[in-house]
Assembly symmetry: D2
Homo-oligomer: 308 residues x 4
């Protein structure tokens, strides 16, 4: 009862082409807080309002993209139950040992029909926020860069969105909040899924190649902070993909940009609260432009195609 | 798994001294949408982004205050399970017939240790939003008054907050997000509880009399909308209790005011996202002022004492 | 001494292709207040915070564009002095009789080197604001559409920007706040001029054809109102040219769109306060993109070329 | 013609009880930039968007309060003309030598009927902004504390407001934008004066003692920045006088607080643009509360009485 099973998006593990450059970028421009480095050379970050040890992990590689994306579940019992449900549904799982990621317990890893490596885990060390838990200030002074509140969601691109949606709704107990339809009026070009009251915790979109990262999204407090984020990006010559605008889907306000390795990220505010008893919102093929960018009412196919 | 059991605060039933005056106020100043009237003379309202038929019910009475406060649960099975759990915990329940409230299914009613009449229900007719579910606009044009997004939570005052907290955490699977302590360092003067990722879905505070209403809160989109709300209140000579400020608790931004019958209400924005695995934030007795009003850092005892 | 001579941009007279459609648009979408119609069939509007009778005049024509743009001067003595200064500088002037425009005194009309019909006038009837002058509310309830505070400035495109700049600085006592340079590092592609503490009251840009209207700009209160403006445009299927972003020049936040006749307009907030003793800001040719759109850091030549 | 004579409020010279504490406060909490110290031990500050060398000067003293308040005039000719006008009007003036204040030219000093030491000056060294004058960013990164855009105005309390108003309107060519009336319906309890398009550049209020400082005001960009200012004050245990609200007068949004010596200051955003041809807004005695604090609709007499 209550919130059980999957609680939230927990960590995004991202491949970058130049680790030093990436660490500088995520620290000083995006404004994440570095929380550790491991023996594999991976660098861990959290956002200031997150209590867990990390939500972003960078690894140097010869190509950009997503290593894996993990969800925090409520407890070990949930982890076991979800693993057995995944297997019953026909998904192979493996366990990654506790400690393989810093401050993180055992992970159940599986591949989604969309070709992404996903994970569930029940334990991640609470390191708390800079404000502490006793008479806390509303936000910490001395942050750098954009300084998002938390890692919010990811949009993953790949094949078989329909089966991935079924996996998330039937096994992981997410619910669909919105979908964008293809011109057949039936197939989802993109589907937005929530395991909470957030307008989305994960989204999937069709892409010719499996396992692609469209973007990881970081939450900001307000539309004014979205402007500030875009300002900071330009001041730092960040490659901005889409300047401040509103999504039709989720109503959220957004700026899209690329990290130095070409991984797209989003700084995002707003979006409604919703519940599993709400019927999904549907966007028709003709209104796909408004669905994605409510003001432009048009979306360049490159926006979908460009992934890492 | 996922969101089950109690989903959200669903309806507040409020007693008013002059129904016509109250309907005018809630329609034109607060900006709720009237959705029906029943044979008992009650008037039903929803906020524009709510999909259910009603979240506020007004009834004329010779004294102001709360009739009852209801929570939407996910389904009939949850309703049955929660009722049997309540009884097992020693709480008497009764069923109110479907249809007794407009567009609302059978309700399980019980009294909290704090002396409030609370309800659970699984069914309320979906009437949707003015924007619809297909290619929706982000918000509807032509709203009146303050026009909150949704009814957000209620703060109830009464006796035995400790036992009420236990009821909500042990039986209804809420979790404590924050508490304000008395000078004994142990007793909660107020406790804030969530059944979602919201910073609070319900709160209870100590009061010498049981069953008191401190306020019903309505969500706004932004701090700028909080200013606009206060402006509209002043333009309409609404009795404002507390002008725009930030809470320490929840970080939310707030204006408190009174409806024409003296029922306090709040227009509220912000507040963080949280999860059941977060440890509660504690405010010490010495910092109670900052907990309640972060800028004033002081709270007049009348703020707690004045209830309906 | 003090503010004398030219006080402010006062009226924009615009040609539209279909007057009824235009009146509907400017009333219900942009949210100007109609204040009168004259015997020539012209329709007059003001913004809600303007005290003068009109700031926008629409006239039906077989082509879109600017009829003329007028500046309010402090008094008749200023009008006479400025007229004689214009003539001494070699600019022909003519007087348009008081009353030719509704509620407007005698106008001194002249053509700028850029090929625009400009006017000065000392009298326009004060009709006041909806809030009145005694214990006023901060803003009026019941407005429609975007509802700008006031008409802010115009950007006019044509030839001989250099001579036009000299006219405005030497004769009309404007001062240059910013300029965007061509690749010769000397010639201004665009120049921004102020007669007040506003970051611009008028601007001129090079264009192959004389007398072109790039846009009339309307002031909004905040960046959140800029978002709302873009939302309202999309809800009403207005042709949006540029979605919310920030200018490098003036720092202002902006949305550009077209009225139903294709006349570009801007809804604008922010921009700094400046003074005639400040040295102009210069944008180099290489940074013209950032100068115009600070986040995109690129400007499509069509943005300059498309005028009416 | 154009903007001549007095351009703007230029510098506030403030007495503080502990210079080190004050420098720490104005640097790290208010977020002004220190620009120099002189042989008298005075410390000079500017706000980030000001181009002149200083707008705030602190001097240690055994009592808090205002030393003097200065206005920048357009040029030496204006300075001479204004001085001779002051004398003709019966005001004694004296010249303070160039260089007596750092980076500042000769000043014409006089005492207002309200008992304040005021100054005019034509020269203050341009040190520019951190963003520079060539392809500037919209704001500088790395600021500390509240970081206002500029010193905006001062509210001075003392005797003979009526004669002071005449001095400012008849000699210095300011114009009255608003006044709050006493219960005789004639006498101004407070008068707000502008020499620009700002809603006020200086204000005077009745006080039993002459030469009192009610507050110096610093401009912020937005209502969200007003919230942030109040947050920063509370985080730093600054004594807040009035938490975020809106003024009826000027419509501006405000937080009032005290520096460590007890000098009140304001962080302020908004306010309308106005012009010398606008009739003043009047607030009746009965609505004095709304005039000062539009939401509270009440003002504690201590708010006026407490001055330094």
């Amino acid at each position: 009862m209550g919130m059980s099973g999957v609680l939230r998006p927990g960590h995004a593990a991202i491949k970058v082409l130049d680790l030093d450059e990436a660490v500088h970028f995520y620290t000083n421009v995006l404004g994440m807080l570095e929380t550790g480095r491991d023996s594999f050379g991976r660098v861990y970050f959290k956002a200031w309002d997150e209590r867990d040890h990390n939500s972003l992990v960078l690894r140097q590689s010869d190509r950009a993209g997503l290593d894996f994306f993990g969800f925090k579940v409520r407890d070990e019992a949930s982890l076991d139950k979800l693993e057995s449900n995944l297997r019953a549904w026909g998904i192979s799982t493996e366990r990654v040992a506790a400690g393989e990621m810093l401050a993180t317990g055992e992970r159940v890893r599986f591949e989604s029909p969309s070709g992404h490596l996903l994970e569930l885990y029940a334990e991640k060390k609470h390191v708390g926020t800079p404000m502490g838990n006793r008479n806390p200030d509303p936000w910490p002074q001395g942050l750098k860069g954009i300084a998002p509140i938390r890692m919010d969601h990811s949009f993953l691109a790949g094949g078989d969105v329909a089966k991935t949606e079924k996996l998330f709704t039937e096994v992981l107990d997410f619910y669909v909040t919105e979908r964008i339809l293809l011109d057949d009026g039936v197939t989802s070009a993109a589907v937005f899924l929530s395991c909470s009251t957030k307008s989305h915790d994960i989204a999937f979109g069709l892409h010719p190649e499996p396992g692609r990262l469209h973007h990881v999204s970081y939450r900001l407090e307000s539309w004014e902070q979205v402007l500030r984020a875009a300002d900071i990006m330009s001041m730092n010559k960040v490659s901005i993909d889409i300047a401040p605008t509103r999504h039709g889907v989720t109503r959220g306000a957004t700026v899209y940009a690329f990290d130095p390795s070409g991984n797209r990220f989003e700084t995002f505010s707003g979006g409604y609260e919703t519940y599993p008893d709400a019927e999904p919102i549907e966007w028709t093929f003709e209104e796909m432009g408004s669905a994605v960018f409510f003001h432009e009412r048009n979306v360049d196919p490159l926006f979908f195609e460009t992934t890492t």
